[in-house]
């Protein structure tokens, strides 16, 4: 067997199955992750609101993208309607909070549950159809939900949009970027832990089995219909929570934010990050959120030599995203996560890589 990503480091001994089934392969990698979270916790001290804003975006988009990755990457189905679920979560949270007076911190997970229900209804066709046909069915869901956002005035405020109250916790209003950053960080950590656990337990394995070989999965006792629809439900839960966080961050939700373009962007995130990789999802989201910002900076520099290029900024951003997806599909179809694995494997064996 080839050495590399699978081989254990020297000095690493596992003496129990518990040690062999941890989220992070080594104590070292776990400590690094904890250190990363701690670093993020102190980061508001030295980051500007602009950077925090980007981090918050990565946070709520990352949660929604994880949902899509569970659906597309892990269970092998496809959805072109993820933005609609994201939007549904946003409206639902605002609605639950303002109509029933339920505190925002509870409204967010409740919005997730509500979105789950919608997702499972949309997922019903998945029990019967696959591949491109399913993609079209979810595309229909995207448009139906968009239309619903525009018409259901009681729920979304119609074309005027609806206001989402800020999140308040222990008497603190999470209105500033710094405060809200901690909320999003907590949600990201919790949701990513939940996602990781899901994948390493029974139902997560069932989803992956479904993706790899649905016929033998069925022989192994897995109910295909149930798990296909469940995949949509779980995926929508993450989308709903992500959307709710988005709503209470902006304070205002409008139907125009949740078009098919956003759905495609979510797909781009998980493709660039790596289908079927939890950490890859976060990497891909960061990449997709940062790319336009970096472009903006880059254009700013070039503009010194080529005046007038600022006018094309919007186009350059769009083109960069398209180009990034194409380049990834060609050179790294398994995404940033795979590249990261290769890098780690390289250093594991350095300098004797053979």
């Amino acid at each position: 067997m080839a050495l590399g990503a699978n081989s254990m480091r020297c000095g690493e001994f596992r003496t129990s199955y518990r040690q062999d089934s941890t989220i992070f392969p080594t104590p070292m990698s776990r400590n690094f992750a904890i250190a990363g979270v701690l670093l993020l916790m102190v980061s508001p001290v030295f980051l500007q609101p602009y950077h925090l804003n980007i981090l918050i975006q990565i946070g709520y988009m990352g949660i929604a993208a994880l949902g899509l990755n569970i659906l597309v990457g892990f269970s092998g189905q496809i959805s072109l309607g993820h933005a609609a679920f994201f939007g549904f979560g946003a409206f639902a949270s605002a609605w639950i909070n303002s109509s029933f007076g339920i505190p925002v911190i509870l409204a967010i997970p409740l919005a997730g549950v509500l979105t789950t229900a919608v997702g499972m209804i949309v997922g019903i066709p998945a029990a019967r159809i696959k591949g491109l046909y399913l993609a079209i069915a979810t595309l229909a869901a995207q448009y139906i939900l968009e239309d619903f956002f525009n018409r259901a005035v009681w729920f979304t405020g119609g074309s005027a949009g609806s206001l989402a109250n800020p999140l308040s916790l222990f008497g603190y209003q999470m209105t500033t970027d710094t405060r809200y950053f901690y909320v999003v960080l907590a949600f990201v950590v919790v949701m990513y832990l939940l996602g990781t656990n899901l994948i390493r337990s029974r139902d997560g394995r069932a989803l992956v089995a479904l993706r790899d070989h649905y016929l033998s999965a069925e022989i192994m006792g897995i109910n295909l219909t149930k798990y296909r629809i469940l995949a949509f439900g779980i995926s929508s839960f993450y989308a709903g929570v992500g959307g709710a966080l988005f709503a209470h961050y902006l304070g205002y939700v409008s139907a125009e934010s949740f078009t098919i373009l956003l759905s495609i962007q979510f797909l781009g995130m998980i493709i660039i990050g790596g289908l079927g990789s939890i950490m890859g999802t976060l990497m891909g989201t960061a990449f997709m959120v940062l790319l336009p910002e970096v472009m903006e900076g880059g254009v700013g520099v070039i503009a010194d030599f080529m005046p007038g290029i600022e006018q094309g900024l919007a186009y350059i951003k769009e083109m960069a995203i398209g180009l990034a997806i194409v380049l990834f599909l060609i050179f790294e179809p398994e995404g940033l996560a795979h590249r990261w694995q290769l890098t780690k494997a390289y250093w594991k064996l350095y300098p004797f890589s053979y």
Binding site: M1, N6, Y17, R18, S21, L194, G195, N197, L198, R200, S201, R202, D203, G204, R205, A206, V208, A209, R211, D212, H213, L215, S216, A217, E218, I219, M220, G221, I222, N223, L224, L230, I234, G276
Partner: protein, 277 residues
């Protein structure tokens, strides 16, 4: 049919008829397997062996006939339900979950025995899901140990060699804790040594683990050596059944296999030029 439960017979297929359009894959096939047996199904290519196995495991729905498994009529059950009742199987063409590790592949076999779900599994540490997973891991490791695939347990199934994949498939089916194991050509494409190993595993599973085995196999040496009972199919019909020795001496079997018109047996002579060994 009366609910007369016969504890000796674990699997009974009665009058199975399966047709794909005009092609009759199975014609009135009846067979039964007793608990603790190793039963083999043989026959030339296209005889309907895999179709029969697919009917038993639920992939195909026969147009007529019933299947009773472990005292229950399972004819209307979907494959997943039959699996959960204790009907494990392997496939002729490998059907592993290629992107999962060997360990995860085998753990999928535990699906119907595990109780944690997407909620309790997600919160892992607080609902006993972790303990449950680890308990099952222990049992799965026994299977891995038995089939001698310890060295590859963390490898992705898709990267393994053919012989090893066959073994992993067997492990996955055994993880289901089946009462009856259906093996579709477990030794196809293996070299002599691998065949011997596989025969040993099947015998051990039968004798030590107490599994009833139904297998399709082309290697006559293996079939004759390890099976208690052999069923012969040809053109969707059962042409012989009995102990290996009986079947070997049966003129219709010889005809089906060698294509000779020895005893001018059948009335239809539409060129049964099938030869297989």
């Amino acid at each position: 049919m009366a609910e007369g439960r016969n504890d000796d017979v674990i699997l009974a297929a009665e009058g199975l008829e399966l047709a794909f359009g005009g092609v009759k894959a199975l014609r009135d096939v009846t067979m039964s397997v007793s608990r603790g047996q190793v039963a083999s199904i043989i026959g030339p290519n296209g005889a309907g062996k895999t179709s029969l196995l697919n009917c038993i495991s639920g992939r195909y729905k026969p147009q007529r006939g019933r299947i009773r498994f472990d005292g229950r009529d399972v004819s209307g059950f979907k494959p997943n339900k039959r699996g959960a009742l204790g009907l494990g199987r392997t496939f002729q063409n490998l059907a592993l979950f290629n992107h999962m590790t060997v360990l995860d592949n085998i753990m999928v076999g535990r699906h119907h025995l595990l109780k944690n779900n997407f909620i309790t599994g997600s919160v892992y540490w607080f609902t006993g899901a972790q303990r449950e997973e680890l308990d099952h891991r222990k049992e799965v490791e026994d299977i891995i140990d038995f089939l001698e695939i310890t060295h590859i347990r963390k490898a992705k199934a898709g990267t393994l060699s053919y012989g090893l994949r066959k073994r992993v498939e067997l492990a996955r089916a055994v993880a289901l804790k089946p009462k009856l194991l259906l093996l579709d050509e477990p030794m196809a494409g293996m070299n002599h040594e691998e065949k011997e190993d596989m025969a040993r595993y099947i015998l051990d599973l039968n004798e030590e683990w107490g599994l009833t085995v139904v297998m399709i196999e082309h290697d006559m040496g293996v079939v004759m050596d390890i099976s208690h009972r052999v069923t012969v199919l040809d053109f969707g019909e059962k042409i012989a059944e009995g102990s290996p020795d009986d079947v070997m001496g049966n003129p219709r079997v010889m005809e089906a296999y060698l294509g000779e018109d020895t005893n001018a047996a059948a009335g239809d002579d539409n060129g049964r030029g099938t030869a297989a060994s």
